[in-house]
């Protein structure tokens, strides 16, 4: 589950059934464009099928992928439903401050992963993140991480399918069953045939399609409002009409002094520590879904550059996915020349979740409409495929090979990977139906996953940078961090929420100004407890001999040499350049 998913649950605002036909009516040219994309997606799977000879080919692309390809896949695997629909909705709801999820909540962590952590992931020859935990700590720590991660990826994939089913029902009038089974069949087809390579190659296709489909939308939306100046003038009206300072929707930091002075309801410390450190490092540096793309690179140097290359388009993505939401809310408050406005929900409030779908429908003629819809479908499918490839690898290497059937032939594990792809997709479909019928269950599961994820980065940080950390310490730290996250949730509540899934189930000792603020502080609590307990338990248990930790711990591992390479091919220099540009973007939109 990505950091972006920590906003309010997104899929509720989409009507659950629409039997009258969709909001948009594609013509033949639109269907042809969608058909071309699906033909290429499956064609790549068929082409790559003959190269899948070993389990390393299937699960890790034979560690043969160029840095730029893996970098775009690294970014695209995270471009699921929450990113495209959710970030545009957040752009409408919170304005430019939503870019904190990129410029604070992603880029620094991606740079840290490339510069400091990839040497251990790649150099240790671990085939997955849980396997690294086994090599660094012990079997029980790996087992805890592998089982929770495998469960989480299947449910995340199911939630993505569920959201797509609702959206296609709303846009095209397709029934839920058709949407879910069709998307499942296409993703199954290309992953089953070509494994991780097929997923990575298709993620590159999806990246360029998403840019091609949404960039003209931003251009037309801004032109409709009279450019960036016209947008900011209207956003002033949006802010003041809701009781905030005039720049609350068009600035990133100027209103972050107090939680009450910005629409996100969070203060700067919560953003920097909760989002910028604990949550973002916990996701980008430890989530196998994205790290797997870097592990597939053809060399150590390439693997280190993967997240840094991904960070370059990532820092510009707010203009592609957040600005449309800002255009939508600005147009709805004061219409532009073309009269675009967001529709209202049943309770009379604006439906932010429809920002991008409604803009596609409003601004794009037939032809471009097909391209925009294809981009939307591509974003859903890349998120699903990322989860499925991560699941089949962790299942095969960290659960099946570790606990069910050791010592079988490589061909056996290759076949098990294909079987895992089939039942991973089947479980995702089941999760989509569970979400459709029991939305509260999915909310509870997502909350549980947030508790499990929150302390993870503390474990990896100590594992990689403190040779004294032990397996008992890591295991106790993870469990206590998860318990601390649950306890924090049980004792706090966002203002205006009812006691229940939003918190306060034991007692309400503290009210947060927003759900986001509560999420950030839950993560900070979990991280702090995990770090403290891991250190405490490690100090009273026996560490592993230093010779076993070479290649796994910073102080015991020779630094990879990048001498003789141009600056842009050296991770430290490239990382510094990326951070500098990100800092400048923060100042430009202060």
């Amino acid at each position: 589950m990505s950091v972006a998913a920590l906003g309010p649950r997104r899929t509720r605002a989409l009507p659950s059934t629409n039997k009258k036909g969709g909001l948009v009516h594609p013509s033949e040219i639109d269907w042809v464009i969608m058909g071309v994309y699906f033909a290429f997606v499956l064609g790549i799977g068929f082409t790559l099928r003959r190269y899948m000879k070993t389990s390393t080919d299937y699960f890790l692309s034979g560690r043969s992928i160029p840095a730029w390809v893996a970098g775009l896949a690294f970014l695209s695997a995270n471009l699921g439903a929450q990113e495209v629909i959710g970030m545009a909705a957040s752009g409408a709801k919170y304005g430019m401050a939503t870019s904190h999820f990129y410029w604070v909540g992603a880029i620094p962590a991606m740079v840290f992963l490339g510069v400091f952590m990839m040497p251990f992931y790649y150099g240790s020859q671990a085939r997955s993140v849980p396997e690294y935990l086994k090599m660094r700590f012990d079997e029980k720590t790996r087992g805890l991480n592998a089982i929770s991660f495998a469960t989480m990826t299947v449910f995340s994939s199911g939630v993505s399918m569920y959201a797509m089913g609702l959206l296609l029902n709303l846009l095209l009038g397709w029934d839920f069953d058709t949407s879910v089974w069709l998307s499942a069949a296409i993703v199954l087809g290309y992953i089953l045939l070509g494994g991780l390579t097929s997923a990575i190659y298709n993620e590159v296709l999806q990246f360029f399609l998403i840019v091609a489909g949404f960039a003209p939308l931003v251009f037309l939306g801004l032109k409709d409002l009279g450019g960036w100046q016209g947008l900011t003038e209207r956003l002033t009206h949006v802010a003041t009409s809701q009781g905030f300072a005039s720049r609350a929707w068009s600035s990133t930091w100027s209103q972050m002094g107090h939680a009450a002075s910005n629409p996100m309801g969070v203060e700067w410390f919560g953003v920097v520590m909760g989002l910028g450190f604990v949550l973002s490092f916990g996701y980008w540096c430890t989530d196998f879904l994205v790290v797997q793309r870097a592990m597939a690179a053809h060399s150590m140097s390439a693997a280190r550059r993967v997240p840094l290359i991904a960070a370059i388009p990532k820092m510009l993505f707010p203009f592609l996915v957040i600005v449309p939401g800002m255009i939508a809310i600005a147009s709805s408050m004061q219409m532009g020349a073309s009269g675009f406005a967001l529709p209202h929900k049943a309770d009379g409030t604006l439906n932010y979740d429809l920002s991008i779908p409604m803009m596609l429908s409003h601004y794009f003629p037939h032809g471009m409409l097909g391209l925009g819809l294809t981009a939307l479908l591509a974003s859903f499918m890349s998120g699903m495929a990322g989860n499925v490839t991560a699941f089949n690898t962790v299942w095969t290497y960290d659960i099946y090979q570790a606990y069910i059937h050791r010592g079988a032939s490589d061909h056996h594990y290759l076949n098990m990977g294909r079987v895992a792809t089939v039942f991973g997709i089947a479980l995702s479909v089941a999760a989509a139906y569970v979400a459709n019928h029991f939305n509260n269950i999915m909310d509870m599961l997502q909350l549980l996953f947030a508790f499990v994820n929150a302390p993870l980065f503390a474990t990896f940080l100590l594992g990689m940078f403190w040779k004294r950390a032990t397996g008992h310490g890591a295991f106790a730290g993870l469990l206590s961090g998860t318990a601390a996250a649950a306890l924090h949730q049980a004792l706090t509540l966002p203002r205006g929420s009812l006691v229940g899934i939003k918190g306060g189930w034991l007692a309400v000792l503290h009210l947060y100004p927003s759900e986001m603020a509560q999420n950030f502080w839950t993560a900070i609590s979990a991280f702090t407890v995990c770090l403290t307990v891991t250190v405490g338990v490690s100090l009273v248990t026996r560490p592993r001999p230093e010779k076993e930790l070479v290649g796994l711990v910073y102080s015991l591992t020779p630094r990879p040499s990048e001498a003789g390479r141009p600056w842009y091919a050296r991770p430290a220099a490239l990382g510094a350049a990326v951070l500098t540009v990100t800092l400048l973007l923060n100042f430009a939109f202060w």
């Binding site: 790549i44 360029f208 391209l371």
Partner: protein, 60 residues
């Protein structure tokens, strides 16, 4: 064994040709919703150029 730039180039060339062709053949009235900009034609040419560059790189 497969350079991603080749299928990427072929796909975007086809999409560019489809959009440009449709842009040339369709009634200009459909562009009322895109603020009068012949977006199919212009964006189709951009995609066509991108596809050609990718094809060239993949071929090389």
């Amino acid at each position: 064994g497969l350079d991603i730039r080749t299928p990427l180039g072929v796909m975007f060339t086809i999409l560019g040709l489809l959009l440009t062709g449709f842009g040339l053949l369709s009634d200009p009235a459909i562009y009322a919703r895109s603020l009068g900009i012949h977006i199919n034609l212009w964006w189709g040419l951009v995609l066509l150029a991108f596809g050609a560059v990718m094809l060239g790189l993949g071929w090389r």
